[in-house]
């Protein structure tokens, strides 16, 4: 529960360096500060990010 801001990776879209502001869970979506791409956390530790899928027609509440 301790490793805030110790994980770092790069944006798969623009290669900007990304350090999440807090502990993240796999499945969360971050926005790249460099290019504004939506990035999905595919692994929390080690941190891996992938471009998040587009919103689908059947998504909603």
């Amino acid at each position: 529960m301790s490793q805030t801001a110790t994980l770092e990776t790069t944006c798969p879209e623009c290669a900007a360096s990304i350090t999440p502001p807090r502990r993240v869970l796999a499945g969360e979506v971050l926005r790249c500060p460099g290019c504004a791409a939506e990035l999905e956390v595919t692994s929390a530790n080690p941190l891996h990010l992938a471009l998040a899928p587009e919103v689908e027609e059947d998504w909603g509440e």
Binding site: W59, G60, E61
Partner: protein
């Protein structure tokens, strides 16, 4: 207690729910539906879950997963029947009409010609919506016949077959806002009023939300609405007509609440977690009682599965 949480993305809502279970010392397992293979005759991987809560963004995924899990004997929140009734606006309206819950008048046409007649029967303005859809997408208001004809032609020409069920709803002349009530286990725990200069007042479309006090009448209306669709946990959208009173517009089975916690001062995720745990307790007790009969978990839970409404 062991709880599963079905998800696609982990949004703020899912994170708050996971943290809510963890804070109560409950073992919660996030389950990314993109990673799962379901074996329809093997309940073993699911046996330990007392309840699975569905928080997937994808209706297709939710509906497939929850139907399978229920058949494997897992109590799901919301139940599959509630998801399918809430997800489809025509099914929701039918359930509300059957239960005598006030809802705006709806007409349905199945061909381009009858679609226009369905709209004309309501008069203008009329509202046309896809039966499957959310976040205000493709919800349209036809102010006159020219507009209705154009909308219908677009639906029948450009839309897939499910757009060919034309669902038309009378327009309710609401006062620049609608009301959303968060209903957990039949109780209205919080509500917001959603203001917009646009007639579509989804917060996903930029509406501004403020806390709203739930009157006993509104709480009663919402309780009847969630009972009609069989939902354990839901957000009920209310349209208020200045002359005719409150109507239930739709019911959302997988509500978003991140912007309603501070606005209402209510710990919505906390209330959801507590209710899921109450359901889990009942589910566990039912299983214990019946397992004396030495049947498989699969058969036991099918016979004695607590259904929505059993826990209040």
């Amino acid at each position: 207690m062991h709880i599963g949480l079905l998800h696609s993305r982990i949004r703020v809502e899912e994170r708050l729910l996971i943290e809510g279970f963890a804070a109560r010392g409950i073992d919660v397992q996030p389950i990314d539906l993109r990673d799962v293979v379901f074996d329809l005759v093997d309940p073993a991987p699911w046996r330990d879950f007392d309840v699975v809560i569905d928080r997937s963004l994808s209706l297709t995924h939710s509906s497939a997963a929850v139907r399978i899990l229920e058949t494997l004997g897992v109590r799901c929140v919301n139940p599959a029947a509630a998801i399918s009734t809430c997800a489809d606006k025509l099914s929701t309206t039918l359930a509300l009409v059957r239960a005598g819950v006030p809802t705006p008048r709806v007409t349905v046409g199945l061909s381009e010609q009858s679609a226009l007649r369905a709209v004309e029967a309501l008069g203008y303005p009329a509202v046309i919506k896809p039966t499957l859809g959310s976040w205000g997408r493709l919800v349209a208001r036809a102010n006159d016949k020219d507009c209705a004809e154009a909308l219908i032609e677009h639906r029948y020409t450009l839309g897939g077959v499910h757009h060919h069920v034309l669902y038309a709803q009378e327009h309710i002349d609401k006062p620049g806002s609608d009301v959303r009530v968060f209903v957990v286990g039949g109780s209205s725990i919080a509500a917001i009023r959603r203001h917009s200069t646009h007639w579509v007042t989804n917060t996903a479309r930029g509406a501004r939300a403020e806390g709203h006090a739930v009157s006993p009448e509104l709480a009663d209306l919402c309780r009847r609405a969630v009972e009609a669709v069989g939902a354990d946990i839901a957000a009920v959208d209310i349209l208020e007509c200045p002359r005719r009173g409150a109507f239930v517009n739709e019911i959302n089975h997988s509500m978003e609440f991140r912007n309603s916690i501070d606005t209402t001062g209510v710990d919505i995720p906390g209330a959801v977690v507590e209710h899921v745990l109450r359901i889990a307790q009942v589910s566990k007790e039912t299983e214990l009682q019946t397992s004396a009969g030495q049947t498989s978990t699969l058969r036991v839970r099918q016979a004695g599965m607590p259904v929505a409404g059993a826990v209040r």
